[in-house]
Structure formats: structure tokens, C-alpha cells
């Protein structure tokens, strides 16, 4: 039982990262029909920006809570800006080109971000400052750390905030309108380019939060960390039904749990095989993912 609880908590923690990153995939896909293959690397850049701020602040003897808050906010703003810049320079000129062309530029951006970070920070692992350590409490025989609890709570708050934003603000309504019909939205007076940029900003800053939290949780980051998280998050977005925000959240948590249980009860070597088989099996039964809606075509 204690092992089970341990695995659930571990799964929810990593699932939170995946869910936050999956939201970026799903929001961008919903609005511009692009699978943003650079998104995993945006997450990685967010982790590095957070690391830079935290290690800089570590010398100032500031209380760690404030330092972490500053690191999170700065990383969110800068990473969000990076997402917007990528959209502006690499994607926007190709929005009306064949979809595969934009997919290839996304792969190019991914490669450029990885190698850019490699050039600046080097190929090794960078260690995150140990702010809280592994302090925690015991629940049902399982050791649960404060970091895990903090990560799960923060992620749920952010996801709830995003949900409210999308459903109860003017810009959120505009985003949903764009997802249905970009041209009609433009005709209704919506500034389409700006809404797309806001979408990229939001998606990228959520990924930045996930990046900083992943650094705190696993304590080490490197330039290649975006690949596997990006892959799992993308899988999560598709599993939940790509373009669907609650779907991405549920998909992320599901993948996290699946990963924890397969590592705990089978072997982490087979985690990806299990995750992908679950995905393929789900899509065969429900081709639009768990929360996706059926698209009806008119003849």
C-alpha cells in the first residue's frame, strides 16, 4: 500500500510537468493547427533561465521563497517572450504554407534551441540549488516531500487559472473563436495575430514553470532534457484529444501515473513502449482521443 501511494504521488508530480507542457502543445494546435515540435525545448530553456536566476540570487542571501518566486516569474516572462519570438520569425511567415513546411521549421527551431543552450551552458548537467531538500512527511507509510506537494498544488492552480482565463475573459473567448474558424474570427474584428502571440506566450510560460519545477525536483538539468518531456507531453495532449484543454491536463496526469506504475511494477526500460501502446490502443478505440470531439465533414 505504501508503495502504491508513493507511486501515485510520484506519478502526479511528473504528470504535472507533462500536463503543463501538454497545454502548450494543445493550445497552439487548437489555434494554428501546428504541432510545435520546439515546445519541449522551450520547456528546457525555461529550466535553464530559472537556473540562471536562482544561482545568481543564491549569492544575495535572499529568503529562498522570494528567490524562487522571482526565478519563476522571470523565467515565465522570458520564456514566454521566446515563444512569441519563435512564432513571429519561424512560424508566422509559413502559416498559409503546406503544413509540413512549418513542421520542419519547428524541428529546426528545436535543433537550434538545443544546440544554442549546448553552446552557452555546455554539454554536462547543471545542478539546481537545493532550496528545500527532501524534507517531507509520512502518509500511509509513504514518504512524501514538500516539493512534490508544492508542485502538484501549483500545477493545479495554474491549470484552473488557465481554464478560467480561456472561458471567462475576452481574450480567452477570442482564442476559442480562433480555434473554430480563424477567418470568421478575423472578420468579427479579432486581432488574430495578437491572439496567436498570446497563445504562444501562455503556452511557453506554463512550460517554463514546468521546467523550473523539474529542475527543483530532479536537481539536475541539461540541454537534452526537453526531448523526453516534450515527447511524453505531446503524447499526453493527443491522448486527451489534441486541441482540448481539459484533455491535455487529464492526459498529462495519466501519462505521469502510467510512467510511475510501469517503472515501479515492471521496468523503466519499457516505460515508453507501455505509454505508446496505451496511446495507440486508445486511438484505435477512440480515434479522437479521450476528450476530443468528432469532426464531421460536409460533402
Amino acid at each position: 500500500m505504501s508503495e502504491f501511494i508513493q507511486l501515485v504521488i510520484a506519478g502526479l508530480t511528473t504528470g504535472s510537468f507533462y500536463a503543463l507542457v501538454a497545454l502548450g502543445y494543445t493550445m497552439v494546435y487548437g489555434i494554428v493547427r501546428l504541432i510545435n515540435f520546439a515546445h519541449g525545448d522551450i520547456f528546457m530553456v525555461g529550466a535553464f533561465l530559472g537556473w540562471t536566476v536562482l544561482t545568481t540570487l543564491a549569492a544575495t542571501h535572499m529568503p529562498w521563497g522570494i528567490g524562487l518566486l522571482i526565478a519563476l516569474i522571470l523565467s515565465m516572462i522570458l520564456t514566454g517572450g521566446l515563444g512569441v519570438a519563435v512564432e513571429r520569425f519561424a512560424y508566422q511567415p509559413l502559416l498559409s504554407a503546406p503544413p509540413l513546411s512549418i513542421l520542419i521549421t519547428a524541428l529546426g527551431v528545436s535543433l537550434a534551441l538545443e544546440n544554442g543552450v549546448l553552446l552557452i551552458f555546455g554539454p554536462g548537467f547543471n545542478t539546481y540549488p537545493q532550496l528545500i531538500g527532501s524534507a517531507g512527511f509520512v502518509l500511509g507509510g509513504a514518504h512524501i516531500t514538500f516539493i512534490q506537494v508544492g508542485i502538484i498544488i501549483l500545477s493545479f492552480l495554474l491549470m484552473a487559472g488557465l481554464y478560467l482565463f480561456v472561458h471567462h475573459t475576452f481574450i480567452g473567448t477570442a482564442m476559442r473563436a480562433l480555434a473554430v474558424d480563424r477567418d470568421a474570427a478575423r472578420l468579427m474584428g479579432i486581432n488574430v495575430e495578437r491572439v496567436i502571440q498570446i497563445t504562444f506566450f501562455l503556452g511557453s510560460s506554463l512550460a517554463a514553470v514546468a521546467g523550473v519545477m523539474e529542475g527543483l525536483y530532479y536537481t539536475e538539468i541539461n540541454f537534452f532534457m526537453g526531448f523526453i518531456v516534450g515527447l511524453r507531453a505531446f503524447t499526453a495532449a493527443v491522448l486527451g484529444g489534441i486541441g482540448n484543454i481539459p484533455g491535455a491536463m487529464a492526459g498529462g496526469l495519466l501519462i505521469g501515473l502510467l510512467e510511475a506504475f510501469s517503472a515501479g511494477y515492471i521496468s523503466s526500460r519499457w516505460t515508453d513502449v507501455i505509454v505508446f501502446l496505451v496511446l495507440i490502443g486508445t486511438l484505435v478505440v477512440k480515434p479522437t482521443g479521450l476528450f476530443g470531439e468528432r469532426v464531421v465533414e460536409r460533402m
Binding site: Y29, P98, I104, L107, T235, L279
Partner: protein, 607 residues
């Protein structure tokens, strides 16, 4: 068939191959080694190009087939003492079977979901190779024997290069022939508009599957060659990054373009070698170069040519008597029954809405039957039920005494029903002539292999096929536009091309869904003539149309629908006088008084 690449590209291709062939005699082993890498990527990219370029599907796990070919050759040689050539058939079979395995569950998925499923498949293959003992785990397999030709082991770099070049040329010929074949056309039509392709007779599921399988075969062949080249393989050669590299070659070069793909292979495999002096900056510069190239040339460096096959001349087409429209129709309608089609109590429900309810009618040989009715009356839903796009919720549709419901659209076309669409659905990025060919390809009886090799029987059939296609273009008045891009035609011509595409499939019954919509009076007049000429040849016509002048002018019989039900049926004169019809169009008498001005033009047209 004549080679269809333009002279310049064809001669350029031969010249490039000649340069590639003499390369080993001029350069040192390093250059030859890079050239061999380019050749390997060239083979793989030509294979992936079938999936991505020709068929427009996405595959982010193509390296899996490469891995399956390589591991099959490696394992059979090291465990069972097969020689290289004996391993190739097995490698091809296993790669082909895995093409089916990956293709099957993904066929019905939306194209964007293909990305993650194929990616997952690629990762699964790599992880299995890494985790199993038989595949040597992360260390891979050593001591794979080189290929042996006439008693000589192919080990020297230049000899392996020559072998690779032979493989490349074989694959090159195959993909060129495929591109010109009916299968190549079917792939392109799929890429352009999947539902339209299905509705004009392309068996889309099978065609998609064939794209994956043939792509997989070529990937497997590349893998076998790779294993024999290095004598050792390990999982790091078959990563997601490898799949992405092959995809980049195809898209950067130009999807569907053979010279483009080969150019892409040279750039993607050669550029990093040329950039070695940049050391650590190499990958970064490559990534930026890739982004810039895509921004500057979104269609790829050497985009695919529009035309794969040229139409025969009008004179040549007329020299083939069996290809004349009259002969074609006579062939199709020979022995058809008096009552062609019978709809019995057909209903179709969407959610809670009854779009069509208990509709029954018959279509007789050689007539022009029109279905009219206000918008939302259920006319197109009836068409969709007849053509297999929708399955009726209740009732049956009999054709030749056999039920048509539950048949896939392409099977309905094969039975002899062809259709056009309310909103025009042509294959925009194919030529006018090739649009017509897609419509008639389901009639091809010669096996695909015979067509690829170019057997005399296949050439004869192809010749007949092309001549008939050309004649149908002539018939609708588009004879001089055969080589144009279909999407560039003016509106009226696009409508007529859709009709030609339908007619070319040798239907007994042609269904036209609002063919006059958006036409000007002159165009409508000539459309009327065209519909009469179609009937005079012997093809039965079922027409949905709002233009009363046209309907009253051409129809032998009219069915009027309103709110999902048939409210009247009879010859034009009887329909014009039918009070229920007038009510359906104009409302009840009190309403007419209120809004008489609106009704006047319609009444005038009907009178």
C-alpha cells in the same frame, strides 16, 4: 509510355548519375564514404517520399523500417549463416509486414495523430532492439558479413559505394514508375482530397496501406545495405533523430519531387560534412540554415512538377474506336435492366433531426430525373445515401436487384454510380487530364506489377485508358485544357471537369449535385446541352438543381422533396401545376399575398 520528366531534368538526372558513377575513380575514400552516406539517405528518403510526398501522410518513425531491415540481415547472417542476398527477401517481408502493422491502426486516424503514432512505433522498435538480448542490446550486433558478388566480398569503400548506387538506381526506377502509375495518381488524389478520392472510386484505405508498405519495403532494403556496409549495427542508428533527418530531406528537397528528394539528401547528408570546420557550432548553424531555407522556399528547394503523364493528342485519341464516348457508354450500359435503381423507404436521422424520412422512388434506364426542393429538404442527404457516403438509418437501396447500402463509396462507384459535388471538389494540384484519369482508374484490370514493368498488355490498356480520358475532356469541351492545373480553371470549367471525371468512370447512372450553381446564363445554357448529350449517349442522369429553367428544360421526370419527404412526382408540366409544390416553394396563400413580389420570379421561371 514516354518518360515524363522534362528533357532538361531527365538529362540532368542521367548526368548526375554519370558523375556519381565515376566518382570513386576520381576521389579519395573519405569523399566516397560521404557519397555512400548520401546514397543511403537517398534510398531512405525516396521510400519516405512515397508516404509523405506522394500520399501526403505523415511518418515520424520511418527509421523503424530501416532498423527492421538492418537487424534482419544482421541476425540471419550471424545466427543462421545466411548470405547477404538471401537475407534481403526476408528483410523485405518483415519490413512490409511491419508496414501493415503500423498502417492498419493508423488508417482511420486524422493526419495529425499519425505524427505521434508513427513516432511511437519508431520508438517502440528502437527500445525493443535496445532491451532484448538477441539483438545484442545497446551494443548491437557485430561481425555481419559483407555482401558477396560473383565470389568477391564487397568490403572496399568504392565497391560498397558501387553496390549502393545500384540499389539507388533500382529504387529510383521503381518510384518513378510508381509516380506515373494509377497507384501514384491514387496517392496524389488522396493527398489532395481524401473524401473526393473515395467518392470517385479510389479505395483509399487500401491505397494508404500500400503507401506504408511500399515505403517500408524501401526502408528495409536500405537497412540491409546499411548492415552489410558497416558490418556492425546498434540502436543509436535508428533513433527518432534519424527519422526526422529523413523527413527533413523529403520536405526540404520538395515533397513528391524525385530530383528534389535527391538534392535534399545531398544537402542534409553532405552539409554537416562541409561544415566540420565550425566544430561545436556546426549543428546550430545547420539548424538555422534549415529554418531559413524553409522560410525562403516553403515548397522545398526543387518542388514537384505538376504533370506526371501527358494527354495523348486529340487525333491519336480518335484513332482508338473503343475509347470513343459512345463506345464507352455502350460497353457500360450493355444489358442493364429497365429499372436501374430502387430506393425503398430510405430514412436518415442526424441526432434528433430526420433529414430524410421514408423516401421511395425508382430511376429508369435512359431518363433524366431531377430532385428539387427548398434548401434543407434532404436532397443531398439522399445523394449521400445513394453513393455510400452515408448509411441510411432505415430502408434499402437496390441496384441491379442488389443492396447498395453499407458499401464503401468506392465500391458504389465500381457498381456504376458516379457523382459530382455541390461544392466543387477537384484535385486542385493535379492536371485536368489526371483528374479525369483518377475517375477512371478503378476500371483498370491489368495488375499493378504489369503496369510498372510496362508489359504489352498493360501498355495497350493504358493507351485505351488515356485515349478515353482525352475523349471525355473533348466531350465536355475541355480538350485544349488537358495539361492545366485543375485548380486554375475558371469556375464553369471546373464544374464541367467534375462531370468529365464522373463520366470517365463509365457509370450507368450519373448523379449531378447542383451543377448549375454559380453559373451565368450562357454557361447554364451549355450545361443544359451537355446534360442532354450525356443522356443521348445512353447514360442515365439523376440531377439535383435549384435552377428551374434548367430543371424544367431537361428533365423527363421530377421528384419534389420538402422537409425530408417526397411531396410530388411526375413530368415537368404536372409538377408546375401541383398545388403542394407551389405551397412548398411559396408558402400558403395568405403568405403569398404578404410577400408576392418574392414569389413572382420563381413562378415565372416555372411557367
Amino acid at each position: 509510355m514516354k518518360p515524363t520528366m522534362p528533357i532538361s531534368a531527365a538529362s540532368l538526372g542521367v548526368a548526375a548519375l554519370a558523375v556519381a558513377a565515376v566518382l570513386p575513380f576520381l576521389c579519395d575514400n573519405y569523399i566516397v564514404d560521404v557519397a555512400l552516406t548520401i546514397v543511403t539517405y537517398g534510398i531512405l528518403a525516396l521510400g519516405l517520399n512515397i508516404v509523405v510526398g506522394y500520399a501526403g501522410l505523415l511518418d515520424l518513425g520511418y527509421a523503424a523500417f530501416f532498423a527492421i531491415g538492418a537487424y534482419t540481415t544482421a541476425l540471419l547472417e550471424t545466427l543462421l549463416n545466411f548470405n547477404f542476398w538471401e537475407t534481403i527477401p526476408v528483410a523485405l517481408i518483415l519490413a512490409g509486414v511491419s508496414g501493415i502493422i503500423i498502417g492498419y491502426p493508423t488508417l482511420r486516424l486524422r493526419s495529425d495523430y499519425l505524427a505521434i503514432v508513427t513516432l511511437g512505433f519508431g520508438e517502440i522498435v528502437r527500445i525493443i532492439a535496445t532491451n532484448l538480448n538477441i539483438t545484442g542490446g545497446p551494443n548491437g550486433i557485430y561481425g555481419i558479413n559483407p555482401a558477396n558478388v560473383l565470389g568477391h566480398d564487397i568490403t572496399a569503400p568504392k565497391a560498397i559505394y558501387a553496390l549502393g548506387l545500384v540499389f539507388l538506381v533500382i529504387v529510383l526506377v521503381l518510384v518513378l514508375r510508381l509516380g506515373q502509375s494509377r497507384l501514384g495518381r491514387a496517392w496524389t488524389s488522396l493527398r489532395e482530397d481524401e473524401s473526393a478520392a473515395e467518392a470517385v472510386g479510389v479505395p483509399t484505405l487500401r491505397v494508404k496501406m500500400l503507401a506504408y508498405v511500399i515505403g517500408a519495403l524501401i526502408g528495409g532494403l536500405g537497412g540491409s545495405l546499411f548492415a552489410a556496409r558497416f558490418g556492425t549495427i546498434d540502436p543509436t542508428s535508428f533513433t527518432y533523430a534519424q527519422s526526422v533527418t529523413i523527413l527533413i530531406i523529403v520536405v526540404l528537397g520538395g515533397r513528391g519531387s524525385i530530383p528534389g528528394v535527391l538534392l535534399g539528401a545531398i544537402i542534409v547528408a553532405g552539409l554537416p560534412e562541409a561544415l566540420r570546420f565550425l566544430n561545436l557550432w556546426r549543428e546550430f548553424v545547420f539548424a538555422i540554415a534549415l529554418i531559413l531555407l524553409m522560410l525562403l522556399r516553403p515548397q522545398g528547394l526543387w518542388p514537384a512538377r505538376l504533370r506526371r503523364v501527358a494527354a495523348p493528342s486529340a487525333a491519336a485519341a480518335h484513332h482508338t474506336p473503343r475509347a470513343e464516348p459512345a463506345a464507352q457508354v455502350a460497353e457500360a450500359t450493355a444489358g442493364e435492366p429497365e429499372m436501374l435503381l430502387e430506393a425503398k423507404g430510405v430514412s436518415r436521422v442526424f441526432g434528433g433531426l430526420k433529414a430524410v424520412s421514408d423516401v421511395a422512388f425508382t430511376v429508369h434506364r435512359g431518363e433524366i430525373l431531377s430532385i428539387i426542393g427548398p434548401n434543407g429538404a434532404g436532397k443531398t442527404t439522399v445523394f449521400n445515401c445513394l453513393t455510400g457516403v452515408l448509411v441510411p438509418s432505415a430502408g434499402d437501396i437496390l441496384w441491379d436487384g442488389r443492396s447498395l447500402t453499407r458499401l464503401a463509396p468506392h465500391r458504389v462507384v465500381a457498381r456504376g454510380l458516379a457523382r459530382t459535388f455541390q461544392g466543387i471538389r477537384l484535385f486542385d494540384n493535379m492536371t485536368v487530364f489526371e483528374n479525369v484519369l483518377v475517375g477512371m482508374d478503378h476500371r483498370f484490370r491489368v495488375p499493378l506489377l504489369a503496369e510498372l514493368i510496362g508489359l504489352p498488355s498493360a501498355r495497350r490498356d493504358t493507351g485505351l485508358h488515356y485515349a478515353a480520358g482525352r475523349n471525355w475532356l473533348e466531350f465536355v469541351g475541355l480538350g485544349d485544357k488537358a495539361g492545366l492545373r485543375a485548380g486554375d480553371l475558371p469556375y464553369g470549367d471546373q464544374r464541367r471537369l467534375e462531370i468529365a471525371r464522373g463520366l470517365a468512370g463509365q457509370p450507368r447512372l450519373l448523379l449531378l449535385d447542383e451543377p448549375a450553381a454559380g453559373m451565368n446564363p450562357t454557361e447554364k445554357q451549355s450545361l443544359m446541352g451537355l446534360i442532354r448529350r450525356i443522356r443521348d449517349l445512353g447514360t442515365t442522369v439523376l440531377l439535383i438543381e435549384h435552377d428551374m429553367l434548367l430543371v424544367m428544360g431537361v428533365s423527363d421526370r421530377i421528384i419534389v422533396m420538402d422537409r425530408g419527404q417526397i411531396i410530388a412526382e411526375g413530368p415537368p408540366s404536372a409538377i408546375q401545376a401541383n398545388p403542394r409544390v407551389i405551397e412548398a416553394y411559396l408558402g400558403t396563400e395568405e403568405e403569398v399575398e404578404d410577400d408576392g413580389s418574392l414569389g413572382a420570379p420563381i413562378l415565372g421561371a416555372m411557367a
